[in-house]
């Protein structure tokens, strides 16, 4: 029986053990910068533009801004796809006349795929002003409820974005764990996403829709539902 060591000595040993045993944790610094920039831009746009519907218990899409900002894309509303576009309203003066609706990931993917919302390069084609350019763009609120069929989910995403940047070693998760794993993954990617019930909701600037879908694809592709 070895003689007892003091707590201080024992803690020193514990610290050494932890230092030696800890695995290398991969850290993507440049990715953090990139995602931090995006998160910051989203927050600035949301708060600076006064676009958030403060105080409302809204799980909604502030899509009112989109059609009018799309300009050349025509109609102020588009209900033809599964993405429900709210009434165009008058956002030119900063007013939001949105009748809010939820938007699922599949809805968003369909809207991006059919051109209703399709503009990561918004500033280059002049369709949608980036927040930095002074545009008042309300964030889309994307709601995920429950765990979807992974294959169908990725197919829907694949219609809008190139879903191939998946992790090389997918993590096994249960269907119950999937929403939380997705929430953490998207949060780690810099999106404003919060867990909600058995799913999550995220606020996404329209001009980031494609990037968001790509990250959803990456996160979803990195999870293997068992």
């Amino acid at each position: 029986m070895p003689e007892s060591t003091s707590d201080e000595d024992w803690v020193a040993g514990l610290r050494d053990l932890a230092r030696d045993a800890a695995p290398a944790v991969p850290v993507d610094v440049s990715g953090a910068v990139r995602r931090g920039r995006r998160r910051r831009a989203v927050r600035r746009a949301a708060t600076g533009g006064g676009a958030l519907l403060a105080g409302c218990a809204v799980v909604a899409v502030g899509l009112a801004a989109v059609p009018s900002l799309l300009g050349g894309l025509g109609s102020s509303s588009d209900d033809s796809g599964s993405a429900s576009m709210a009434d165009a309203g008058d956002v030119a003066g900063g007013q939001s006349a949105a009748s809010s609706v939820d938007l699922s990931v599949e809805d968003l993917a369909a809207a991006v795929a059919d051109g209703s919302i399709a503009f990561d390069g918004a500033t280059s084609d002049g369709a949608v002003p980036a927040p930095e350019a002074g545009g008042t763009v309300e964030p889309l609120v994307v709601v995920q409820v429950g765990t979807p069929d992974p294959d169908a989910y990725l197919r829907a995403l694949g219609a809008a974005v190139d879903v191939r940047g998946v992790l090389s070693t997918p993590r096994d998760v249960t269907a119950a764990q999937w929403p939380d794993a997705m929430t953490r993954c998207l949060d780690g990617a810099g999106w404003d996403v919060t867990a909600e019930g058995d799913g999550w909701r995220a606020e996404v600037q329209p001009h980031d829709a494609r990037s968001f879908l790509a990250d959803v694809g990456t996160c979803a592709g990195g999870l293997s539902v068992r």
Binding site: T5, D7, L17, R19, A21, V27, V29, R39, R171
Partner: protein, 205 residues
Amino acid sequence: MTVVMADVGEDSPPVVVPPGGSEDAGPTTGTAGARIAWTGDRDADFTAFATRAQAELGRTAWLLTGDVHAAAELVQIALVRTYTAWPRARAGDPTAYARRVMANARIDTWRRRRREVLVAPEAVPHTAGVDAGAAVEHRDELVRALAQLSPQQRRVVVLRYLVGLSERETADDLGVSAGTVKTQASRGLHRLRATLGDLRGGADA
């Protein structure tokens, strides 16, 4: 405090100042051993900070989660949020800021899940540069021991003993009283000692 602020120009790269003076270069910050003189360029400063702090943040995240994947996610969350709040983080100790984000992120997760999830130690990749067998064995041992603590005890033990914060710093990080830290640290340590036994073989002290 091991990070100093010094705006020396928008375009200059961050300057790493060798350790010296009477700085408290304890084990509490990832930038221990050197100081970074801020340039005022957000991206450059943050990158300099994150590059230096990543190993320590990764280790802390792993100790909090017991899983390398979850730890990687946790560090990424912390870094993104630290970047977003960079002026505030930089005004204090960015490593401490990131660490607090990690602790709070974990707390949020625990509250949502009502339980802590530890992934099997075999899912953790080997550490390069050390004897793989021993490292895996120690890792396994440590993860199991930490898993036996309550989430609160584990957070306290990790921050207080493994990260090396004071009771006050631990309390501040976790948003609890110093008395709670003292109690939880004592109980957690007692339990860890009972589980891990004698550690002198692996200690330098």
